[in-house]
């Protein structure tokens, strides 16, 4: 069923009785060519691109809960490609280009809104660093504009420009950045994959891998054994837990990141802004709530909820940037579990076990990466070679000294 204005009109005059569920609820088949573990954004995107771009057939996505119940529904919905290192920037720019064509590709309204993102700077050295980053972005085909204070003031006159400690001197603006309705990404990919024959199997937890003579030939699940020629794991947050079933230790720690929504206001925040002196990023949703977040809590966690000191810290960051939100009340907050990697960058690679492939380590940048991650992982699964934009995301880079460390923090995951 294709969505169109005509279809909406027809349904409106016939009592909306024609809408049907947009993906099936199939029982698992005994065997598949490809099994993707994890029905989140990345897993569903992988299945979609595998089926639509790489001619993959006989594909299943296994999800232990319901699709989109993990981090794809727990983020602050920001998309951008404003990285410094070329190993990252090309990949995230590829992702942003896929976001731009996503709704036409999926025939699904994911509310992709390129409202622009500004990273604020507060000192001369920070301006120089942002100028360098902007140049790196432009060299990789992305867009970047270095704004002075007046440039920021034109868009956001209400910011705290004259903060005594961290005055706002300007910002690095990426006009093509923005936000996307995050749940719709999961649903849109699921619907598109299902229409290509992908079996999306919910409530099916993988409990082990079937590894024979160094080759993964299938998985054990709560709904029985399923054979597969190739198995791809895309379960960021729980990567260590799942890969432990294949006796692998990963260069990851799981951490909790909290996100927040305020009560609704009239529109006043046109784009996305990030604070350069504290960790705070904010946008305003179409319902009017401020959607914002900050740092991870900083200790290992699988609990999907955080603690109050970070709530205070994030709100302080918001207050020092935009004192106008002082009377706003916090409506909701939640936590998601991140794969925090040892250099702050992800992995999309084969494992040492034939037929077993891994996608994870997204730290807290996984949402914006969803389309490119799915595309690159599908490329790897289909062709056994890395996609050109994801060549650096190898699992062995830590033993070879080829880290991709945007922040230069070293092997300390809670600082990335």
């Amino acid at each position: 069923m294709r969505y169109s204005a005509l279809k909406i009109f027809k349904e409106a005059v016939t009592g909306h009785k024609g809408w049907k569920p947009v993906w099936r609820k199939p029982a698992p088949k005994p065997s598949y060519d490809f099994i993707i573990i994890g029905g989140g954004g990345h897993g569903l995107a992988t299945a979609h691109y595998l089926a639509s771009k790489f001619d993959g057939k006989n594909i299943a996505v296994l999800e232990k809960g319901w699709i989109g119940g993990g981090n794809v529904g727990r983020n602050t919905t920001i998309i951008r490609s404003n990285y410094l290192h070329h190993e990252n920037e090309g990949f995230y720019e590829f992702s942003l280009k896929l976001w731009e064509g996503l709704e036409q590709d999926l025939n699904y309204n994911a509310m992709v809104s390129q409202r622009g993102i500004i990273n604020l700077y507060h000192s001369d050295p920070q301006r120089d660093a942002y100028a360098r980053r902007g140049n790196a972005m432009i060299m990789n085909g992305a867009d970047a504009v270095l704004l002075d204070q007046d440039g920021v003031r034109k868009q956001y006159p209400f910011l705290n420009f004259d903060n005594a400690r961290f005055p706002i001197k300007g910002g690095l603006w990426q006009p093509r950045g923005g936000t996307v309705r995050h749940d719709a990404v999961a649903w849109g990919y699921a619907r598109a994959a299902d229409s290509k024959g992908v079996d999306i199997i919910e409530n099916c937890e993988v409990t082990g891998f079937d590894i024979q003579n160094g080759r993964c030939v299938g998985v054990k699940t709560t709904r029985g054994k399923i054979l597969a020629k190739k198995v791809g794991v895309a379960v960021a947050g729980n990567s260590s837990r799942v890969m432990a079933m294949a006796d692998m230790h990963l260069p990851l720690e799981s951490h909790v990141l909290q996100a927040f929504v305020s009560e609704g206001f009239k529109p006043f925040l046109p784009g996305v802004i990030t604070y350069g002196a504290g960790h705070f990023y904010v946008s305003q949703s179409d319902k009017g709530g401020l959607v914002f977040g900050g740092d991870i809590d900083g200790y290992n966690s699988y609990a999907q909820r955080g603690n109050l000191p970070v709530v205070e810290d994030v709100c302080e960051g918001g207050m020092s940037l935009m004192p106008a939100i002082g009377k706003a009340r916090l409506l909701r907050m939640w936590g998601g579990i991140m794969d925090m990697s040892m250099d702050g960058s992800p992995m999309i690679d084969k494992t040492h076990i034939d037929g077993l492939y891994f996608n994870g380590g997204w730290c807290y940048g996984g949402f914006k990466a969803t389309p490119a991650s799915g595309y690159a992982f599908a490329h790897l699964l289909a062709t056994d070679t890395p996609h050109e934009t994801a060549r650096a995301y190898r699992m062995d880079r830590f033993s070879r000294g080829l880290m991709i460390d945007e922040k230069g923090q070293g092997a300390q995951p809670n600082l990335h």
Binding site: S240, Y302, A303, N307
Partner: protein, 92 residues
């Protein structure tokens, strides 16, 4: 989270800085023939599975002692707090 410091009693976790898995106390022998691989595993690889986790916390805004905290990372419940120097001496 409240960390029950063995010397100072219950303290708020925000007084502490978190380092990570207590396996970081078991530094490999640099003279071993397998030292390169041992240090790679020591520095970069983590078990990181749910449930009980032994981890290092530094009482930065207190007495600056290092603690080994045993905490369930699925529930945040802390079940044991030891001074890291005691753990190092006992070799566990």
């Amino acid at each position: 989270m409240i960390i029950n410091h063995p010397l100072l009693g219950p303290r708020d976790a925000s007084e502490f800085t978190y380092l990570g898995d207590a396996s970081l106390m078991q530094r490999p022998n640099p003279k071993s023939e397998t030292a390169i691989d041992d240090f790679y595993r020591y520095l970069y690889l983590r078990e990181n599975t749910p449930g009980e986790h032994r981890e290092l916390w530094y009482h930065e805004q207190g007495d600056r002692s290092w603690l080994v905290v045993t905490r369930n990372i699925s529930t945040h419940e802390i079940t044991k707090v030891e001074l890291a120097r005691d753990v190092a001496r006992s070799g566990t």
